[in-house]
Structures are given as C-alpha cells and as structure tokens.
C-alpha cells in the first residue's frame, strides 16, 4: 500500500471538495490512469479533461505516468498568472 499526496488546485479543489492530502493507494495502482479509475467517477471525469495537467513532484507530466510511494501528485486547470 503506497501513500501519496494528491493535490487539487483552482476549480478542481471545488470539484473535489478538498484541496487534497495524503491518501493510501491500493497496491494495484501503479500509474496515473489507474489512479483516476480508482477516484470518484465524477471527480475523475473532471480530472480527465484535456485542459487539466498532472504535476508529479513539481514537474508537469503528459500522458499516463508511473506513480511511486511518496509522490506528490497535483491536478491543475489552465494556469493564469500576472
């Protein structure tokens, strides 16, 4: 059982009802696609939108990527600073 940190930003925190935190993942979850399958379906649908990016340990990732114990996994909507 791997513990990771899931984080939600912008409107995704509203959709998730939380800004995130540590979760213990079942042993079979080894990548981001399996993680999304495991999450609440209505939240997973939001997170699968093409405009949502996944940030793992402060790096933006594209496609399905492996997850390791201790990872910080952020879900972010389109960014807009300035």
């Amino acid at each position: 059982m791997a513990s990771v940190r899931l984080l939600y930003f912008g409107y995704l925190a509203d959709a998730a009802g939380t800004r995130g935190g540590s979760v213990d993942l079942p042993a079979h979850i080894g990548d981001t696609d399996q993680l999304l399958d495991w999450l609440e379906p209505s939240l997973a649908e939001e997170l699968r939108r093409p405009s949502v990016r996944i940030v793992i340990n402060n790096e933006i990732k594209a496609g399905t990527v492996p997850i390791h114990p201790g990872d910080e996994i952020g879900f972010i909507p389109p960014m807009s600073g300035g």
């Binding site: 930003f9 409107y11 940030v55 402060n58 933006i60 972010i76 960014m79 807009s80 600073g81």
Partner: protein
C-alpha cells in the same frame, strides 16, 4: 530576484530596489499588474489567487532563467501575490534592467506573456452575484505565441 507572497508589496519600492541592484544599467523597464474593480462589465469585489507552493516558485524561476538567457539583462525581479486581493491592489511586478532599453522592455513583455499563460496561479473573481474561475484569454495565448516563432527552446508540451 523572485518572490511569491501573500503580503501586499509596494511597486515603487520594488522599482527602486531593482535600480539599486542594476549596476551600469541605462534602462529599467517595469510592469505592474493591478486588480481591476470590473472585468468584462462584471463587478469584482475580490480576486482570489490560488497557487501551488513550491511548483509555482519553480516554474517562475525557470521563466526568469529563460528570460536571462534570451535577453542581455543586468537585473531582473518578479514579485507575485497569492491569496485574496481587492480592487486597486498590485498582483504582479516584473522589472528588468539592462544596458539598453530594448532588452529591458522585451524581457518584461516576454515574462508577462509567459506569466499570463504558464505561471501556476488560478484566479477566482468574487462579485456581488457569485464567483467565477477565470482562465487565460485567447489574446494571452496569442501574445505568448509571439515568442516561439524565433526558436523553440522554450516551447512547452
């Protein structure tokens, strides 16, 4: 010099501090972004900026390094707020010092275009009838695209 902070800042003091650090600069260009009290006719009573601690600083740091690689700068400053801001409050300060004006002006222009489309902040406008999360405008993406025609070193996935 990069700072991401919740506390208000004074753009005039940032300008003075940048000029002090800039040695033989002949040119200092600055940009200050300010919360507007209305956006597309809708009243905005508060702007909430969400950010991603650690990641936000890291992305802005990379942008600043890319600006310094692209333009001959003597000093550079980016100050960006998060949290709750009221109309009239500065959100962002970008300042660049260089020997000649073109490098300073273009570095500020470049960094603002990148901040608008690639800096990890998420803005929620709160008004009398509710709130809405806002995303970059089409114009922001078009502005950002101006800087990739010359090269691809900063093209992102």
């Amino acid at each position: 010099m990069i700072r991401v902070q919740e506390e208000p800042f004074d753009p005039a003091a940032e300008t003075a501090s940048l000029a002090l650090r800039s040695g033989n600069a002949g040119a200092v260009a600055t940009f200050i972004g300010i919360v507007r009290g209305a956006n597309e006719e809708a009243a905005v009573t508060r702007l909430h900026l969400d950010h991603y601690p650690g990641f936000t600083e890291s992305v802005i740091g990379r942008m600043a390094a890319e600006a310094e690689a692209r333009f001959p700068l003597l000093a550079l400053a980016v100050v960006h707020r998060y949290g709750d801001l009221g109309p009239g409050e500065p959100i962002v300060f970008v300042g660049a010092a260089a020997e000649h004006r073109r490098a300073a002006l273009e570095a500020v222009d470049y960094l603002m275009d990148r901040l608008k489309t690639e800096a990890p902040f998420w803005k929620r406008e709160d008004g009398p009838t509710g709130f809405r999360w806002i995303e970059p405008r089409e114009a922001d993406h078009a502005d950002r695209a101006r800087w990739t025609s010359e090269g691809s070193e900063d093209a992102r996935d």
